[in-house]
């Protein structure tokens, strides 16, 4: 049997487009379910992907969400062109958010996205450059 199987899916995410928001992570969830991954793994991957997708929609201009499934692990990579994060340590704190009032009214901006992504993944890396963009990479083992 093929031990080096790989499934790769990529989605372009548009900043500020709340109509399409969540569509990419829904599709990711459905596909991970269909390939028969353990339901807890699916949930953690889906939550990580959703939070990453929403952060691009809310905080960045545009980005790409890429999910790769390889033997034993899932990697979720969110790369965006955007303002970047000035203080990562602060941004990682539960409850910290710079979301506008408009966005809060839509039910986002609780400052729980990044902490949740970290909680859901086994490996979490974030790189950012002010004025350029942010790159979040998460790995979940199964």
């Amino acid at each position: 049997m093929n031990k080096n199987f790989l499934l790769k899916m990529s989605f372009d995410i548009e900043g500020n487009n709340f109509n399409a928001a969540g569509a990419a992570s829904s599709e990711i969830k459905r596909k991970l379910k269909q390939i028969g991954l353990n339901s807890d793994v699916v949930r953690r991957a889906a939550v990580s992907a959703y939070e990453a997708e929403m952060n691009i929609v809310i905080h960045a201009y545009k980005g790409v969400l890429t999910v790769t499934v390889s033997p034993g692990e899932i990697n979720i990579l969110a790369e965006d062109e955007g303002p970047g994060i000035a203080d990562i340590e602060l941004a990682m704190k539960e409850g910290y958010s710079t979301a506008s009032d408009d966005v809060r009214e839509m039910g986002f901006g609780a400052g729980m996205g990044l902490p949740n992504m970290k909680k859901c993944s086994d490996k979490f890396e974030i790189k950012t450059e002010l004025g350029v963009g942010t790159k979040v990479s998460m790995t979940i083992y199964y």
């Binding site: 049997m1 093929n2 031990k3 199987f5 790989l6 499934l7 829904s26 969830k29 596909k31 379910k33 269909q34 390939i35 028969g36 991954l37 339901s39 807890d40 699916v42 949930r43 889906a46 939550v47 959703y50 499934v69 033997p71």
Partner: protein, 453 residues
Amino acid sequence: MIERNYHSVVLDREKCKGCTNCIKNCPTEAIRVRDGKAKILEDRCIDCGECIRICPQHAKLAKTDELSILNNFRYRVVIPAPSLYGQFKEYMNPEKILMGLKKMGFDEVYEVALAAENVSIAVRRYLSEKNNPKPGISSACPAVVRLIQVRFPDLIKNIVPIKAPIEIAAKKAREKIKKEKGFKDDEIGVFFITPCPAKVTSIKSPVGAKTSFINGAFSVSQIYGDLLKNIKSVKESDLDGTLQKASGLGVGWGRSGGENKALAMGNTLSVDGIHNVIEVLEEVEMGRLKDIDFIEAQACIGGCVGGALMVEKQVIARTRLRKLSETLAQNFAVDEYVVLKEYDNNYYFMTEKIEPKHVMKLDEDIAKAIEKMELLEKTLERLPGLDCGSCGSPNCRALAEDIVRGIASENDCVFVLREKVKELAEEMLELSKRLPPAMGDGDFNRKGEKNET
């Protein structure tokens, strides 16, 4: 008699015209049209009855029992769903409705609404215990339970593992009759008056129990005519006020929101209509409803008053039931203390685990499933994306999935077929221009191309 793969929803092949209304509305994509007739994929069907409601030919039926099975039992009990009261103009006089029902050949009536009170108290206790997964999800609607098995296996742990009111009603009725009348279990027949096919399936092929306490089910629409006549023939003097016992809280269970009202605790959410239920369950699965303690989820719009085998319009039945439950007593008719003692003795718990049904998986083996997923995506790219349904699958993606699963072919798509026919036609035209080597007019070569001059 337990059939593992029993389904109440069946197709009347004669009536089916092979239109695509049902396949497009099925919440688990469990129907295909093959050879001009709908075909239900048994392992995906959750018996919600959406197809019964939507079929313009009335070709989807619910299998229920024949009234003649009453003859197999010495003592016959009828257990009507709380939603039954809203089906009649006499809704404000439920005693009369129950008497009419009894006259159809039953020795005794035991209201499911009464058992709904027991269940309310038991669920409330269960939710107050620490460490039970949040939010709890009601187990009362069997279509929702099956939906979770098929589409949300991760949420099985959230289903409150307490038996549905119909089972508790049957259990209680049996105990009462054995004690008061001395009949043996197999002499007692318990019959449910059902609003929906899902409940029939839950009796014939239970989830969370090995067997049901109920012997048969008749639908509201099946007995409606006779029952209506009976109700009209009941005289006030026939009534002694002993049949209708449940409070407004128990009766309220028949419409959406009623279960939560009876629970009267915590942060609860109520959702009705199978497509809305799916939306809410997606949220729960993503961990976004952690602040909710309990979800009352019902497959039918309006709750059981909107069941697929009901007769009265949902809005009317729902309003009637609300009025009735508001005029009845507002505290439980059952003894809370007794119920809690029974609860501690495991009286209310399901006896079997609810198992996930992995029917959405492409393959048991992850590597193979991924291969199939890639094939599915490639196939999908070749399909037109119109989701027209003429291939007999609900949408282009489902056809691609069916192709990968080996139950359909790409040529089932009329657009792919047309494209292929066009290619073939062009090739034939091309071929027809070719001439045998000895023929030709010099201007064209054998391939039909113009010769350079």
